[in-house]
């Protein structure tokens, strides 16, 4: 024993002993408390990552349907519903991909299903195709008229909507639903093939809207205003978007 140790004051020696005991206890206990793998990947138990990935799929993903249902996947891919996942309608099908006969898909044939996406809600983006299901062909199921994998309105839609879909769909749920596009825009047939060469005409003055809206004996059931006093400094469409006119 080096001879300086006995010369240390008693209390220091005791303190030193205590420190040694604490340090040893810490070294023994620490590995017992810290879970295996802690710190390998960061400040956490690395085995936790294994736990996180040990979870079964419920949704197989659209790509996995193609192997056996390529007819349906290609039909879906070419239509309006191209961004929809099969399983958003048919339910989670990871089990079906493993054992097609055992796990059967759901078939949402009722009228209450499609409106989860298509019922008119003011918060939906303008131009998203919406219906008011109470008045939209209420006696039949949606799939009677619309093939769910390639939904097109069963009649050929207005030609303009092919290129101006957003406008056409806004107008369809607006007060002007019954005013035809070509009532307000005179369009040369050529516009449909070379739209920039053959420009469609737009209304140019307040009198145009006045045809239906200004007090006169026009017999229109449109709400009436007085052209000369109703905000005469502006053209009407600075305040009322003609494809979704709002008042109040």
């Amino acid at each position: 024993m080096p001879n300086w140790i006995p010369n240390l004051p008693e209390q220091v020696r005791r303190l030193a002993l205590l420190v040694v005991v604490v340090v040893i206890a810490f070294l023994i206990v620490r590995p017992m408390l810290i879970p295996a793998g802690f710190g390998e990947q960061g400040h956490f138990r690395s085995g936790a990552l294994n736990d996180a990935v040990a979870h079964d799929y419920k949704y197989a993903g659209k790509a996995s349907c193609e192997e056996c249902h390529d007819d349906m996947t290609s039909m879906l891919a070419s239509g309006y519903h191209n961004n929809l996942s099969c399983e958003v309608c048919h339910g989670p099908l990871a089990g079906h991909v493993e054992e097609p006969e055992e796990v059967q898909p759901e078939f949402p044939r009722g009228r209450n299903f499609c409106p989860v996406c298509h019922e008119y809600l003011s918060a939906r983006p303008t131009g998203f195709p919406q219906i008011v299901s109470q008045s939209h062909n209420q006696l039949k199921a949606c799939i009677n008229c619309h093939e769910p994998h390639d939904p097109v309105p069963s009649e050929v839609p207005e030609k303009c909507s092919a290129c101006h879909g957003k406008i056409a769909r806004s107008k369809a749920v607006s007060h002007h639903a019954n005013v035809e596009c070509d009532f307000c825009h005179s369009v040369n047939e050529g516009h449909k093939t070379s739209p920039r060469e053959f420009r469609a005409a737009k209304p140019i003055d307040r009198n145009f809207c006045g045809q239906c809206h200004a007090d006169s004996e026009n017999g229109s059931d449109a709400p009436q205003i007085d052209l000369s006093s109703h905000e005469p400094r502006y053209v009407c469409w600075q305040c009322h978007y003609p494809h979704l006119p709002e008042a109040k």
């Binding site: 294994n50 979870h55 519903h81 996942s85 958003v88 409106p115 809600l121 918060a123």
Partner: protein, 260 residues
């Protein structure tokens, strides 16, 4: 005398060389350590290294139609309890009224969609906001966990180790986005994992799979050629509660100032 000096010089040179060599030692040890860091998955069909990725999500408010298929799919995929109040992701509807008031609703997280509001007359504008864990780069929940049971993995995903979670709920209190809840059965904290079990196997999270309008974009943050990077380049981006410096990795396009 001469000998002695020489001997000393040799010693000095020796230790100098040792020192120089020593400089390289830590490097090579570190390099080895880095290699060790590559993770061994218990499921050896997984070839995924968390260090090679950095995940995030983009949400385009203008594309969200409020169908709630994301929150419905999330509940199913992750066995989230069906009762209300337990959500890993949910959709809120904002109605901003003419008088400046803001009304927010999210009936059952929108797992059954939304109903028309009867009094939609005084609405100035309205829109949907999908929400989920923001996978913050500076996560308050991780900072408060007393046992290291919630953590940010190398790929940026914030996860919970339910083996070690003691259910103290500090993280739930700490999360400014209300993205966590205590599982009623296991009594451990739960939250969105970006569907970690799916992304390590190369699939999209269930909510992204279910979204019909590409309102949710999932992808790599640090690769230039990724849909998410493009999304961030082409849109004006906002995050939720930026003043808190949590550095979220969920990015919103066309986010309204009123969204909290």
């Amino acid at each position: 005398m001469r000998n002695l000096i020489n001997a000393k010089r040799r010693d000095v040179l020796k230790s100098l060389m040792g020192l120089v060599a020593g400089l390289f030692v830590p490097k090579s040890i570190m390099a080895e350590k880095d290699q060790q860091k590559r993770f061994d998955w218990a499921d050896d069909s997984i070839h995924y290294d968390p260090h090679d990725h950095k995940w995030g999500m983009g949400i385009d408010i203008d594309n969200c139609i409020g169908c709630g298929r994301c929150s419905a799919a999330c509940k199913i995929e992750n066995d989230v309890p069906r009762e209300p109040f337990f959500f890993r992701t949910w959709v809120e509807r904002y109605h901003i009224l003419e008088n400046g008031e803001t009304i927010i609703d999210s009936p059952n997280g929108a797992i059954d969609g939304f109903n028309k509001k009867p009094d939609e007359e005084d609405v100035l504008r309205s829109f949907f906001v999908p929400k989920l864990c923001n996978h913050c780069d500076n996560p308050p929940c991780v900072q408060v966990c007393p046992v290291g049971a919630t953590y940010e993995s190398a790929d940026g995903v914030v996860l919970v180790d339910s083996e070690y979670c003691i259910g103290c709920s500090y993280c739930i209190q700490a999360c400014p986005y209300g993205a966590r809840f205590l599982h009623p059965v296991t009594r451990t904290a739960e939250k969105c994992t970006f569907c970690y079990h799916r992304i390590v196997r190369g699939n999209d999270p269930a909510c992204v799979e279910a979204c019909p309008t590409q309102a949710r974009i999932f992808g790599e943050l640090e690769q230039k050629a990724s849909p998410l990077h493009r999304f961030k380049r082409m849109n004006r981006i906002g995050v939720l509660k930026p003043a808190l410096n949590t550095e979220p990795k969920v990015f919103y396009a066309h986010l309204d100032m009123e969204v909290k």
